[in-house]
């Protein structure tokens, strides 16, 4: 929120809350800036100029259509294939070169830029991997580890999710087009907002950070959520398992910035999170270390640093044997 002086146009442009006000994005920022402008009438021209720079001008995209691009690619692909054959004739077959290409195809699969059929786009993450995506409509998705998501190429505003993801959906003011997230348990109807969805543990948990969303549960009921709401629902058990308000957003969504935050958790519960994130099993050697209390943040893409951080903060010893973690109390040694 604003705390400094605003004298040049850059001061406004670089301010996140000012950007929110311009786009009428966040109620607290909108209120703040409406008031600020009322108290600083001499800055009105500068403010309006900055607002126009942020909003800019909306263009229709009159780019060549898909068929044209695909046709042009087909022509180019043939030219390049012909060139590749010429190249290979000149060179002796190179084993390492082949390995390089094979490895890159493998990477394509693991990093998730592959398509199952021409119209389905799938993204997958391995354990300990987080993927940031920008969809065609401008919406941002952060896919947590061991998760997958897909949509059909002709409509990226309807996505199917298994695992956990954080969505920042771009508002489509002109068309009022909705964004849908579909899981095994429920459907989420969205109109420009940011929220977290977690389908691990045979349920779907949704946390809303900003904006407004509607849930359509598998059992037919619908629910409206407002910022700070958290709800988890299982279709199998056909019940709402948990519903909370004003939850600390950091706890539910810190993973998208590369860390898991523990807030006064028993170590055994914190370790469960680590197991899910890294796809690894853990065993405790003693009861005492299970119930140590841990508070703090650990990285989700680097297991070694993560374990060291835990060892330091709760004084346990963690050993990695054959992809299993052995945890024991430090004082026992």
């Amino acid at each position: 929120m604003a705390k400094k002086n605003y004298n040049t146009i850059e001061d406004f442009l670089l301010d996140e809350s000012f950007n929110n006000w311009s786009k009428e994005n966040r109620l607290t920022d909108v209120d703040f800036w409406d008031e600020w402008i009322a108290y600083n009438p001499e800055k009105k021209e500068l403010v309006n100029e900055a607002k126009d720079i942020i909003l800019g001008i909306q263009f229709k995209h009159t780019e060549p259509n898909k068929e044209k691009t695909n046709a042009d690619w087909a022509v180019l692909e043939n030219i390049l294939k012909a060139k590749n054959i010429e190249e290979q004739k000149k060179q002796a077959p190179n084993y390492f070169r082949f390995i390089g290409i094979a490895a890159s195809i493998l990477l394509l699969v693991t990093l998730g830029i592959y398509t199952l059929n021409p119209t389905k786009v799938v993204y997958k993450t391995a354990f300990g991997e987080v993927l940031n995506l920008k969809l065609k409509d401008g919406s941002l998705v952060t896919l947590n580890s061991n998760s997958s998501m897909y949509y059909y190429e002709n409509n990226n505003r309807k996505v199917w999710l298994t695992g956990e993801a954080f969505f920042e959906v771009d508002k489509k003011e002109t068309t009022n087009a909705k964004f849908w997230v579909i899981t095994d348990d429920l459907k989420i109807e969205v109109y420009g907002t940011s929220f977290n969805v977690d389908t691990k543990h045979e349920k779907t948990a949704v946390f809303l950070e900003e904006g407004r969303i509607w849930l359509a549960l598998k059992n037919g009921t619908t629910k409206k959520m407002i910022p700070g709401n958290y709800l988890s629902y299982s279709a199998k058990e056909n019940t709402v398992l948990d519903e909370k308000n004003n939850l600390n957003s950091h706890l539910k969504t810190s993973w998208k910035n590369g860390s898991i935050t523990f807030d006064k958790l028993f170590l055994k519960d914190a370790i469960k999170k680590i197991e899910e994130t890294y796809g690894i099993k853990a065993a405790f050697k003693d009861e005492e270390s299970k119930y140590k209390i841990i508070t703090g943040a650990v990285p989700i893409t680097n297991l070694d640093i993560c374990l060291k951080a835990i060892e330091k903060s709760v004084s346990v010893h963690i050993e990695k044997v054959n992809n299993q973690l052995i945890i024991k109390n430090r004082t026992e040694n």
Partner: protein, 188 residues
């Protein structure tokens, strides 16, 4: 982390992977096509130079430095490639400030959304006002709001520094606001 996919495509492409190259092509060809058409105003020239350009990128893939973002590289080198071709075609010998003279983007009413987010530009004949702007302001506006590139990338493409792009965009918006208020005065 953010540009993981770009970086990956780039690496696979450098190894000659045609599948990776097709991802690159299908992602950027439409945007570059439109940019090329805006610069040249000529469909055959745009199509030919664009295909040539992608062949060039593929053939020289091994000399390319690793990039965390492909878009600014493709825009700026395609721009250079196209300008070179246009210069040859028009047989201009003097090269001073040629780019500035050649690149004169024109906007049409059909490509402006009827619904503008800004109150200032709502229900105005924006394309006419845009076309009145100086050439560099038009290009900066195009790259920022049409192609969706950030100020840093635009600076790379237009071969000027960051501050200069920021100033150019500020001036363009300021000019447009002035034009709009003049129009309103005349109409009242």
């Amino acid at each position: 982390m953010k540009k993981l996919s770009d970086e990956f495509v780039w690496k696979a492409l450098k190894e000659g992977d045609l599948k990776a190259f097709s991802i690159l092509y299908k992602t950027y060809q439409p945007r570059l096509y439109n940019y090329g058409l805006k610069i040249s105003g000529n469909i055959p020239v745009t199509e030919d130079t664009l295909q040539d350009f992608f062949i060039y990128v593929y053939e020289h893939r091994e000399n390319l430095s690793d990039l965390d973002s492909i878009a600014p590289y493709l825009f700026s080198s395609y721009r250079r490639h196209l300008i070179r071709t246009l210069k040859k075609r028009s047989k201009i010998v003097s090269f001073d400030e040629m780019d500035v003279k050649i690149i004169d983007i024109q906007f049409t009413p059909e490509e402006i959304m009827t619904h503008q987010e800004s109150e200032t530009f709502k229900d105005k004949n924006i394309s006419i006002l845009l076309n009145k702007l100086p050439k560099r302001q038009k290009e900066a506006i195009y790259l920022k709001y049409y192609s969706g590139l950030n100020t840093n990338d635009i600076a790379n493409i237009m071969e000027v520094n960051y501050q200069s792009v920021a100033n150019t965009i500020h001036k363009a918006i300021k000019n447009l606001r002035e034009e709009v208020s003049i129009l309103e005065l005349l109409n009242s």
